[in-house]
């Protein structure tokens, strides 16, 4: 059945190219493909972010499709669709000539990912969402948006800069690329190298064990594995008398046991074993056939009544649900101050950190390159959440690209009218840096850039150094904290004459 395997490879390539293309064209203005949808494929990501921030999105409906697929066919997503899995498989394919290892016997380490998932679930109930660290789609998108794309952008810019300035050639090609793919400026992000390393670790691990990540760590794989304990359609083994063990060796996720039976929650349906002729491809399987019960021991359907284990599971689930609701009520009654300047339409600080999956969509879509990942400025649970850095960019008055691309609605998609009234922070003048206040030189660049029609920055006459000068003051009621004043302030360096503080 080489055809089935080939179909799987084609599907992987197709979905990888689709995702890569969508990620590449994710710049302002938001184009026909919206990368949001890719993140809705992951149950662990969406459910945990919504539990930890206590809210519900429309994306749950899309998620249902993938849950049904997992019920019917098992972890098809991992083997056929997941772009990160495709990259790993390709990497393994490249290293094939150098690889020389034997698959170990079915190992108990396979359970690690389920324990990790349980830990993430407990943290989510407590209000902390950390699945983003290992969630493959976000790892992939973080690397793509914040590390690979800026690198590609910079290299292309440098190359064409050299060609155009020295040989007067290639201008049209460059503008065709930059106008359609790049943001208006060469974008760069903090911690780019960290994202690269975090992407490379699982990739290199795949060279030692095929699908290392999917076997031992991946929370998405674990959540799909739970759903596909006993899928409706599955591979089925024909009678096998020989003890060749080839099926065991060929399996990339170590799902096939020595006796030829396989663990369906580990199988990524890659169809490699169908080449061997002892495995028949997808077949409608009657539930709880004898052989499967004997072989996998995973089918629970014969149990009648509630066991003690189930009883405790139900009780702990109910307690967790009550706790989440209490936490929600507590958070609603308490005001929390933002630690950094958040994008327009962001949730309240605590919920924002829980709902944000750090995919980097908003940072890539930001037209001014103002959205940057934070490290510890907003606490240990806020690592790599976006903030507006008014030195690298600012919030453009009538732009709401970040809200349009956020997969978990941690940043709301605002209407244009709502966006204009969003208060992000408040500008304050630093009188010992501001040129008119300090030296009495006329400047007023901040006033000319202020986007508010009535001008939140006004200038008044003041005696500075014995000379009457126009100096700027901020009207706190009108100021929306967009930060264009800080960004355009002519004072060089990170300390500007006017600075926006979070509210």
């Amino acid at each position: 059945m080489k055809k089935l395997k080939a179909t799987r490879v084609i599907s992987q390539i197709f979905f990888f190219l689709l995702v890569a293309a969508a990620f590449t064209v994710l710049t302002f203005p938001i184009k026909f493909i919206d990368t949001k949808e890719f993140f809705l494929t992951s149950p662990s990501l969406l459910i945990f972010s919504e539990i930890s921030a206590v809210y519900l999105t429309k994306g749950m409906a899309v998620l249902l499709i993938f849950i049904i697929i997992a019920f019917l066919f098992g972890r098809v997503f991992c083997g056929w669709i997941c772009p990160f899995g495709a990259v790993m498989d390709f990497f393994v394919f490249l290293l094939k000539p150098l690889r020389k290892y034997k698959e170990s016997k079915p190992d108990k380490k396979l359970m690690i990912k389920y324990y990790a998932l349980a830990v993430f679930a407990v943290l989510a109930v407590l209000g902390y969402q950390f699945v983003w660290i290992f969630e493959p789609i976000t790892v992939f998108s973080r690397f793509f948006h914040l590390s690979l794309f800026p690198f590609f952008n910079a290299v292309t810019d440098k190359f064409f800069q050299y060609i155009i300035m020295n040989h007067d050639f290639g201008e049209n090609i460059y503008y065709a690329i930059s106008n359609n793919i790049f943001s208006a400026r060469s974008i760069s992000f903090k911690y780019s190298f960290a994202f690269f390393v975090l992407f490379m670790i699982p990739l290199l691990a795949a060279a030692f064990r095929r699908r290392f990540w999917c076997r031992y760590i991946c929370p998405l794989g674990a959540s799909l594995g739970i759903l596909s304990v006993n899928p409706k359609f599955a591979l089925r083994k024909k009678a096998c008398s020989s003890d060749c063990g080839r099926c065991e060796q060929i399996c990339r996720s170590n799902a096939i046991k020595h006796d030829g039976s396989y663990i369906s929650s580990e199988c990524v349906m890659c169809m490699d074993c169908t080449i061997l002729k002892c495995y028949k491809p997808i077949e409608n399987k009657k539930p709880c056939q004898k052989e499967i019960v004997q072989n996998s021991g995973l089918c629970q359907r014969q149990n009648k009544g509630i066991s003690r284990k189930q009883f405790f599971l139900w009780i702990s689930g109910a307690v967790a649900a009550i706790y989440v609701l209490v936490r929600k009520a507590y958070a609603a009654s308490h005001f929390s101050k933002n630690s950094v300047i958040r994008p327009p339409g962001a949730m309240k600080e605590k919920e924002f950190k829980a709902a944000c999956v750090r995919c980097g969509n908003c940072m890539k879509a930001c037209i001014t390159n103002g959205l940057q990942p934070v490290m510890f400025e907003s606490g240990f649970d806020g690592i790599w959440t976006p903030k507006i850095d008014n030195i690298t960019g600012y919030c453009e008055y009538n732009c709401n690209a970040c809200g349009q691309v956020c997969p978990t609605q941690a940043i709301k998609a605002l209407t244009p009218e709502e966006k204009l009234k969003q208060k992000l922070g408040k500008a304050d003048i630093v009188k010992n840096v501001c040129v008119p206040w300090k030296d009495g030189i006329e400047c007023l660049v901040c006033e000319e850039h202020c986007p508010v029609a009535e001008k939140a920055i006004k200038f008044v006459k003041e005696i500075i150094n014995g000379k009457e000068t126009d100096v700027p003051i901020v009207d706190a009621d009108l100021c929306i904290g967009c930060g264009v004043c800080e960004n355009k302030c002519p004072v060089e360096g990170r300390k500007r004459g006017i600075t926006v503080n979070p509210i």
Binding site: L98, D157, S183, I367, V445, K455
Partner: protein
């Protein structure tokens, strides 16, 4: 093919399996270091800005025109723009066959045309069309925007209108600026990065909009040339009145066409309030910036040109003469 791969693999394995002695270690260290040093050095050389500077634009002789200044009022924007230039003697006086022409509108702000923060797109389109009719080979339209380039180009409507008229519209990328070499040694703008394409052209047509400006009082044709400057433009505001005439003299536009179809009377240059916008339905054309600016400021804003610092400084610099109804050859028309 397979054999070749096998050979390469076995070679790689051999290299990996060789024992690491002090000699081989030092050898690789030296070789690697030399390679890195060499490659980074060449990369630096290849990608260096190669220290090129840019000289003032060589302008053609100013042609003899029928009038010094024309002002045409009317409802149809394209018609009045055409008429104002035709009364001067036609676009053919400034644009010759096969020319590369730069049309520099003001599209610095992320605002739609009705807010009068940017030049009217219909005016820009009309000017571009006229240039092509006079035999221009390419017409370039660009501006160094204050807000984000993409938004300004789109929301001002100029990109669409100019492209439809056949112009090449592109963003002013950071690396296309070159340090300017002024003839006057004491110039305040000495070494300031200016946009290459704005200087290297056969004809330069300046198409500003008439509006107020917090610091410069009014922004008209002389102030509009700030849009070809790079660097830290905020710092140009320090002693701006001395710097603007220098830039204007460096570029020497052939023609100024001031868009006073809609003017912004307060809260400029960015505006944002429709109450501040006034309809004047007029296009002013002149090749003398001081004359054009002082005419517009007196007729539409009731400010004497000589009281605006940068216009006064330009007159002293020798860029032109002030408007006075007695000794200016002026043509005012209503369609």
């Amino acid at each position: 093919m397979n054999k070749k791969i096998e050979k390469a693999v076995s070679k790689a394995k051999k290299i990996l399996s060789t024992e690491l002695t002090r000699k081989t270690f030092l050898k690789t260290l030296v070789a690697g270091g030399a390679f890195l040093a060499f490659s980074s050095n060449t990369a630096k050389k290849v990608f260096a800005q190669n220290g090129k500077t840019i000289d003032p634009r060589k302008k053609r002789e100013t042609p003899i025109m029928d009038y010094e200044l024309t002002a045409v009022t009317g409802g149809d924007i394209e018609k009045i723009t055409r008429q104002s230039v035709d009364l001067l003697g036609g676009m053919g006086k400034f644009v010759k066959n096969g020319d590369t022409v730069v049309v520099k509108p003001n599209m610095g702000w992320n605002r739609t045309p009705e807010y009068a923060a940017n030049t009217n797109p219909a005016v820009v389109a009309a000017v571009v069309k006229m240039c092509f009719e006079s035999g221009a080979k390419t017409v370039k339209v660009f501006d160094n925007t204050c807000n984000e380039k993409k938004l300004c180009y789109q929301n001002s409507g100029i990109m669409e209108a100019a492209k439809a008229a056949g112009a090449t519209v592109f963003y002013m990328d950071d690396w296309k600026y070159m340090p300017a070499r002024f003839m006057r040694v004491d110039a305040l703008m000495q070494g300031w990065p200016l946009f290459r394409d704005a200087i290297e052209c056969n004809a330069f047509i300046n198409v500003p909009i008439a509006k107020t400006h917090g610091h410069g009082t009014l922004t008209l044709s002389i102030k509009n040339l700030m849009g070809i400057c790079g660097g830290n433009r905020g710092q140009m505001h320090w002693e701006m009145d001395k710097k603007l005439p220098e830039v204007y003299d460096f570029v020497k536009p052939d023609l100024n066409i001031i868009d006073a179809y809609r003017i912004l009377t307060a809260n400029g240059p960015r505006g944002g309030n429709l109450k501040d916008v006034a309809m004047k339905n007029t296009i002013i054309a002149s090749s003398d910036p001081v004359l054009a600016d002082s005419y517009v400021s007196e007729t539409f804003f009731n400010i004497k040109g000589s009281t605006i610092a940068h216009i006064k400084r330009s007159q002293e610099y020798g860029l032109g003469k002030f408007y006075s109804s007695a000794n200016t050859k002026i043509k005012i028309e209503k369609i």
